[in-house]
């Protein structure tokens, strides 16, 4: 990777981080767990990386197997994470 593109990625990193800070400045404690869980699901974005990683022909190589392992794990994280979060948040509906 060139330093040029590294810097640009750095811009993105900094801006996104700052944005993350700004967005979560005052969350009520009731939302702590769902928020944690929801953002955890987002971190399952490695799934994208995993797909790229197992994009090789053949099952034979170590890296391919690793990629597939990664894909399974990341998928669990993504699917399980979003579903659990949704279940939690459903409870917050106003009881009438």
């Amino acid at each position: 990777m060139t330093t040029e593109s590294l810097i640009i990625l750095f811009y993105i990193l900094v801006l996104a981080s700052y944005l993350g800070f700004e967005l979560i400045t005052k969350v009520p404690p009731t939302l702590h767990t769902p928020l944690m869980s929801g953002s955890n699901a987002i971190s399952g974005i490695t799934m994208v990386g995993a797909i790229l990683a197992c994009n090789e022909l053949g099952y034979s190589t170590f890296s391919k197997w690793l990629g597939m392992l990664a894909l399974v794990l990341a998928t669990i994280n993504v699917v399980g994470g979003y579903t659990v979060t949704d279940r939690m948040l459903k409870m917050f509906k106003k009881k009438k």
Partner: protein
Amino acid sequence: MNIYIQIAYLVASILFIIGIKKMGKTKEARSGNQLSSLGMLIAVLATVVQVEAVSLVEILICVVIGSAIGLFIAFKIEMTQMPEMVALFNGFGGLGSLAVALSYYWLNSQELNANIDAITGTSTALSIFIGGLTFTGSIIAFLKLNGKISGKPITFGGQHLINLILLLLVIVASVFAVMYQADSTYVFALVALALLLGILTVLPIGGADMPVVISLLNSYSGMAACATGFVLNNNVLIVSGALVGASGIILTQIMCKAMNRSLINVLLGGFGQTVSTDGGDADEIQVKEVGVEEAAMLFDSASSVIVVPGYGMAVAQAQHVIRELAEQCEKRNIDFRFAIHPVAGRMPGHMNVLLAEANISYDKLIEMDEINGDFQNTDLVFVVGANDVVNPAARENPQSPIYGMPILDADKARTVIVSKRSMGKGYAGVQNELFGYDNCLMLFGDAKSTIGKLVGEMKEM
């Protein structure tokens, strides 16, 4: 890379951002979560399109297996097990990042014999390290919460020193792994060290601190994803990873504050035990505290509220802020009434005098006999500086000096919030078991100032 795919990634990133933003507000949290999952779907689909079905079958199989496991776990578990599940998923995510980075490293260094440049290499090492740490740390947290490992902090001498040494070894291993890519020993050493560090840093932490730890590990897994993004030169990974990393840190900090601990204390090996603050006068009663914000949310989501004022309201002169609370509730169409116990306070009619002063209409004040049947259909009872008059011992414990005194059945409500300064006793000098009930939350502090803050929160909602 195809421009459409890039745009899809951009859209996904934006959806993540909006999703996270919305998840900070009760009313929008659910739709926020849905938006963010939509973003994920877009990102994944775009990626699948990008790889142009080279190995579509395997990918499909993996995704199906992962989804099945994820869904199974997500639906099987009880609501009470949520925090440990989050820990588990988080661990999987971490391991996933590790695997991706390792795969990339292996592919290039061992299989293709290509050289990985320094920047990418560093990113890879970071990704492996953070991912591994997250994995084992999360698993330990999971086991602790699960009860499989004792929730007690497991400590041993010199642990900070050992951790420090391991960390140094991690750096050494990383450098070597990048420099001597042909030799895979270093990278595996790195993996092992990361896994070990994860175990060692979380093991000494008490069960009560676990939520903070999980939140922090969650933030780490975000960083791992971000590092993977640098490895793969992929923007969506960077954006979402950074987002999760940063918001996770902030969230951790907020949680620390709520638990009265400093983040530094947690971040650095401080990671220590919580000092047990509830001792002495509370006897055996175990109470649950609630913060002003959460109390405000409980009010917001209730449809009926009964306030039980007592002598503490008089002492705090909280009648005026309670009127504001009533106004806030009425604005939300919440049914809001006062249950007046005949001997609340220190003189007959004590509550009446004060509430009249605060201009609360007489017909909001309901006598004990009339309102007692309504508690069980009430969402929220707010006990303000009352104690004896809501003490279930009067009903249930013939040994109690107040046995036989009619009381307000506040405990029958769905949720009870009690505003008082401490675990201090009331006039009769007896312990109140209500405070330890499952549906009871304590809002400690002077009634006037805490309710003032509560009203402030509600105004902002």
